[in-house]
Symmetry: C2
Subunit: 221 residues, 2 copies
Amino acid sequence: MSETPLRADAARNRELLLDSAVRLFAARGPDAPLEDVAAAAGVGVATLYRRFPTREDLLLAVADRKMDAYEQVLRTAQAIADPWTAFASYVENFCAAQAADGRLADILTMVFPAAREFEARRMALYNGYLALVRDAQAAGALRADYSPEDLPVLLMANAGVLRATAETAPGAWKRFVAYMLQAFCASHQREDLPPAPTPRQMMRSMQQVTACHGRSAPDAR
Amino acid sequence: MSETPLRADAARNRELLLDSAVRLFAARGPDAPLEDVAAAAGVGVATLYRRFPTREDLLLAVADRKMDAYEQVLRTAQAIADPWTAFASYVENFCAAQAADGRLADILTMVFPAAREFEARRMALYNGYLALVRDAQAAGALRADYSPEDLPVLLMANAGVLRATAETAPGAWKRFVAYMLQAFCASHQREDLPPAPTPRQMMRSMQQVTACHGRSAPDAR
DNA sequence: GCGGATCTGGAGGATCTCCTCCGGTTGTTG
DNA sequence: CAACAACCGGAGGAGATCCTCCAGATCCGC
């Protein structure tokens, strides 16, 4: 990831900043003041800006950190023989990871187009998920009109639930996700659905989420 | 609502401010700067603070304004003979009203405990909705384990979808809501759901949403 | 028309967040 | 060990937002 090797103290400070950002963003949201992130890391704010020139750079580093967990969700699902159970496990565990992220629930619906390596990881994850979808549909377990874009929409919806209920009704998301999985299940005849958003639309939506937090002002208008 | 009759100019300015707030909050979110609301109304910022001492006061007035539309949604649903169609109409139209509110999608999940008249209106609406739920369940059309608290959760989820997709994939919420209605429908056998949040939990969640926007700083920590 | 109460608004102060400067410090290599 | 480049951080500036003051203006009832 880093092209130029950092001095030992700089590398240490970078890790401290990243640890601090993960904690602060989870506790107070992706718009927590960067001065507080630096202070919690025990370094000066100029150090933070030197290593992460923009908030979006910091968010990207945090997202990359979390990618390990999401990849594990996929591996767990891939190890399940039953296609529906594999798919459902992926969805549930993804939402559980989102719930565990605290106020950073939006991170799962952020994209960083300029970050080649990160986006490559994200695409690999997405392709793994697509295979789960195909398998579950081929097995007749997942409704034929399910669209892969339905999952990012679900994650946006779940972020909305978590934003409102994470502290006050911490189990609410589970019921919500259970409803959604039941709706996705093909085992019953169903009415037609309105059209799914296109992948392009979803990419733009995720860019919008990122832009909303990447800039200095929360609602930058 | 106002106990002391305002002078004509003050009443006029209050209406201008409210109109302006409705527009600005829809376009830029409930955290749009109050100076911009005042400027768009063509009045001074002190006039805004005199009439609406806190942002929450302004949000309350905006919510009260919108109550007319929500009450119309209930009346439309109540006029429908078929219980399932009545319930589904209520949910769909409520979500449509939410989508029409632009960046003010959270308003439907805000509460103002100190505002007796507004809360009375909200309770009347909720009781009308409860009757729709009971009728649809009694008719066997709405699943027996559906909880009235599932609708506020749905509105929070929909706010999450709208927050991310309102401009980029404006129809996404429709598909999402259609999925949810299919999940609510009793016409098929279903697995058990995780427990619903309690009314108390939902009230606290809605207070949290309100607190999040009512204070001066967007994420006031 | 007058008097008095209500109302007006722009400037300025306070606070918060972002961001950069630059003299001093530290790590690394030869 | 010395040289040099990388690195450090707190202060201060800029901008945004919230909030209040107070002299002047306006409305309304008698």
